[in-house]
Each structure stands twice: as C-alpha cells, then as structure tokens.
C-alpha cells in the first residue's frame, strides 16, 4: 500500500529550463508535505515544505504546489542547474501526529544537462 507515489522514476531537462517533479498521495489525513534532495552516498537533505492550509510555497528557485482535491503536489525548479541533478523524494506526514514520521515516495532522479 504505497501512500505516497512518484510515478516518474527519472526526468531529464536542459540547463536553464524548468524541472517539474510530481507526487501523488492517497491518505487524506496527510497535512504536511516535504521535498528532500539526495546525492549519492549522502543522506536526504530538506529542500522545501508546505502545509495543507496553503496551495503554494516558494523559496528561491524552488516552488511547491499543492492540490488537495487531486491529492497531488509538484516541485518546480526554475531555472534548473546542473548541480540540481540528484534524486528527489516527496514525503508526507500527519502534522498532528505525536511522532512526526515521514512517508516517502520512491524518488525521481533528475538530470540537468549543461
């Protein structure tokens, strides 16, 4: 039972263009969503998050959009840079949880070509 799904295993974009990474979830109790970026041999690093009371959150080149009715979120990276090449994971949590455990998707490998 995959509660968080990233259906695209990989994505390739040209430097300077927009990268759009998608994520779907099934559990309507999720009310907090995060994106993590992972380089090989390193742990995931936090990128950006959004609460379910918002539909957009922006931080520099990174913007996360949340569509609660569709149970869908996306991460936009504009402009994409070669250093953005990594595996991106979306994660979800129940904000009222007393543990804060994260449920991760399978990841999308982004390649930004110079």
């Amino acid at each position: 039972d995959q509660q968080v799904k990233q259906n695209s295993p990989s994505l390739s974009v040209q430097e300077g263009r927009i990268s759009i990474l998608n994520c779907d979830y099934t559990n309507s109790m999720f009310d907090y969503f995060l994106w993590y970026k992972k380089y090989p041999a390193e742990g995931p690093t936090f990128l950006i998050s959004i609460s379910s009371i918002k539909d957009k959150n922006e931080d520099g080149r990174f913007t996360v959009f949340l569509n609660k009715s569709a149970k869908h979120l996306s991460l936009h990276i504009v402009p994409s840079q070669p250093g953005d090449s990594a595996v991106y994971f979306c994660a979800a949590a129940t904000g009222s949880s007393n543990t804060g455990k994260l449920i991760f998707g399978q990841g999308t490998t982004l390649q930004v070509k110079p």
């Binding site: 995931p44 949880s97 399978q106």
Partner: protein, 115 residues
C-alpha cells in the same frame, strides 16, 4: 561537525550475524528517527524516539530489530541474526521539535550488506 553522523558507513555481515548501527544526532535534538531504504526505493520508517522514550516502533520489520537511545542522545539500531533481506541503507534523522511534521535532518546512512 554539526550534522547527524552515523557509523559505520558500510557494514558487511554474514547471514546470521548480529550487527549494531550507531547514530549521533544533532546536539539538543529531541526527536530521533530510524529509516530503512532499500535499493531504488524511498526511506521507510522504522522507529521514533522522543528523548530516551521509544514512542513508535511500528515500522520495525521483525523482533530481530531492536533500537535504543538510553540517555536521549546517541541511538543504536541492532539487528540480530541478519538475513539477506535486511540488506539496505539505514538512515538516522533527528529533529529539534517534538512530534509534528517538522524538518528532519538526516545522516549519511549505514549501508548494510548481508552475504
């Protein structure tokens, strides 16, 4: 180093051996999490500590897995009688806040290979 550290970084164990994986969280972080990441998959939750109390161990796959955080800082994940399906990267994360869904800081992980 101000980040989360884990040791060893790599561990090879023969099937049936016991292993112990260590996590040093960021100083002062109350919450500590263990995740298991199989090849090509996202991290999967194993267990959660609030200080020294293990409040959630619902993700531990079997009673061969045991975690502790006796003084509320360093944590150890122990796997007894390792099996091949235990081969994965084990990630530790810590968070300043208690519960909620706040940002978690991850260590580099321990890659366990069971032969």
């Amino acid at each position: 180093g101000a980040g989360v550290s884990q040791s060893p970084r790599y561990k090879v164990a023969k099937r049936g051996q016991d292993v112990a994986l260590r996590c040093d969280p960021i100083s002062g972080h109350v919450s500590l999490f263990w995740y298991q990441q199989a090849l090509g998959q996202g991290p999967e939750f194993l267990t959660y500590f609030q200080n020294e109390a293990q409040l959630d161990k619902s993700g531990l796959p079997s009673d061969r897995f045991f975690a502790e955080r006796p003084e509320g800082s360093v944590s150890t994940l122990k796997i007894q009688r390792t099996q091949q399906e235990d081969s994965a990267v084990y990630l530790c994360a810590s968070s300043l806040e208690v519960g909620g869904a706040y940002e978690q800081y991850f260590g580099p992980g321990t890659r366990l290979t069971v032969t």
